[in-house]
Symmetry: C2
């Protein structure tokens, strides 16, 4: 048993889709969330910049007495996770590993699609893990840089013309190739799940990195006997920190969390 | 005569559309350009974050012996320009003032449209300047947050389906209102000029903030007798600094400059 909170961070608020999964899976846990909204997005930046930002994110979270960190950022999870895991003395889990294993196990025709940010795709992390689990798998990767700005500007519903056109532009090749499994390699993408599912006509298994990452964290806490104690009526609670103004927090957070935001929100400085 | 260079900065590389104008208008000048690519975009951030970033940008540029600063960032020009102008002891010009005056003079039916980032629009800066010049003008503002990611991902050509759909979504109301003048209040937007012009059917005068800002700077240098000396065969030269990797610099810079990039490019740290 370990009642200390879990630290979760993302470049922005997309990582709240992972928090959403954690709140459902681990209702006894306290969560401290950091969204680096002052410097979002990470996905188009270089590896050295991503490393610098990830260290500052983790340094902030470790000022709290936390028991583990969930990297709810697909970009950090795929580009610099091994480096920060080696530097800090606490469990740091990313969202890529569990999703890669789930995809490797789910495919029937050995054709797996992967969508994510430019940096996530170029890292080769998903490919490496999938091939280790399933050497026969073929991986077809497509960076989808416009999905994040679309979601952040309210364009994610099935039937939204801009969403449908962008989905068609990015995913037609994967449809032609007849993938049967698709990794949604960015925490914003669960919002686009319905539109993507409709495009593929339900013939493709969609693997959300957030849901798989949350499951992985739960397994890890169970293995370490580090779950928080529950008591009747207790519900998961979450404190939110952001690096830009909290003004727009509620609107976006509600979208990603899929529920009303409870718990306090505060702006912090982490780059000094 | 003043042979010191001009400092130019933007949140990213969009400001190179202003450099393009400067290179044409002021071929004898040396330009030092800073693109804060490690923290782009500014347009969705809060005023306090924008102020902090703008100060760091200017602090970097003033490490060179420059004679003036051109703020080639619509967001900084409209949200915190007066604050930084008061703090630094050198001429700092933004891109909003000249464009506002040009629009106020250009309109015939007194209906002016304004497009830009969320922060630029909300600042009210364009409205304030236009109303002072032309009290009868009506200003209709539309934030267009998807234009920047579209341009940065290569979607800007007339005929591009995503561009046409987004232009239609953002600008249909302005067309219905029958504006006769439109301020392109973001340095990325000149790339979309053809698509926007086609949408309005050439009935609308498009005012580029970059072109107007460059003209304003030239007038200011003439007024101060601070133009650089020319000599036969001299061409404008430019040094480029960015805060993220220089890897993608050439591809994007070529788009915004409309010419092959000459002059060196270096990555620098400005946030410490």
């Amino acid at each position: 048993m370990d009642n200390r909170p879990i630290g979760v961070f993302d470049s922005g608020l997309g990582g709240l889709t992972v928090v959403r999964e954690l709140l459902d899976l681990l209702p006894n846990e306290r969560i401290i969330y950091l969204g680096d909204t002052g410097r979002v997005p990470y996905g188009s930046r270089s590896r050295s910049t991503i490393l610098k930002y990830a260290r500052q994110d983790i340094d902030f979270l470790t000022t709290f007495d936390i028991k583990a960190i969930m990297v709810a950022c697909g970009t950090v999870s795929t580009t610099v996770l091994d480096l920060v895991q080696a530097e800090y003395n606490l469990p740091i889990l990313g969202v890529a590993e569990a999703a890669s294993k789930a995809a490797a196990a789910a495919t029937r025709n050995q054709k797996i699609g992967l969508i994510g940010t430019q940096a996530s795709i170029h890292s080769g992390t998903y490919e490496r893990i999938i091939r280790k689990e399933n050497p026969n798998a073929q991986i077809y990767s497509v960076p989808c840089p416009l999905f994040v700005p679309l979601v952040e500007n309210g364009h994610y519903a099935k039937g939204d013309q801009l969403v449908e056109l962008t989905v068609k532009e990015y995913l037609t090749e994967l449809k032609t190739i007849s993938i049967d499994t698709l990794i949604l390699g960015c925490t914003h993408y669960p919002l686009l799940m319905e539109a993507i599912d409709a495009f593929f006509g339900s013939h493709v298994t969609l693997i959300s990195t957030g849901a798989q990452g949350a499951l992985h964290l739960k397994q890890e806490l169970v293995r370490r006997d580090a779950l928080a104690a529950g008591y009747p009526g207790r519900i998961a609670d979450c404190h939110y920190y952001v690096t830009d103004s909290t003004d727009n927090f509620s609107r976006l957070a509600t979208i990603f969390l899929g529920r009303t935001v409870k718990g306090f929100v505060e702006q912090v400085v982490i780059d000094e």
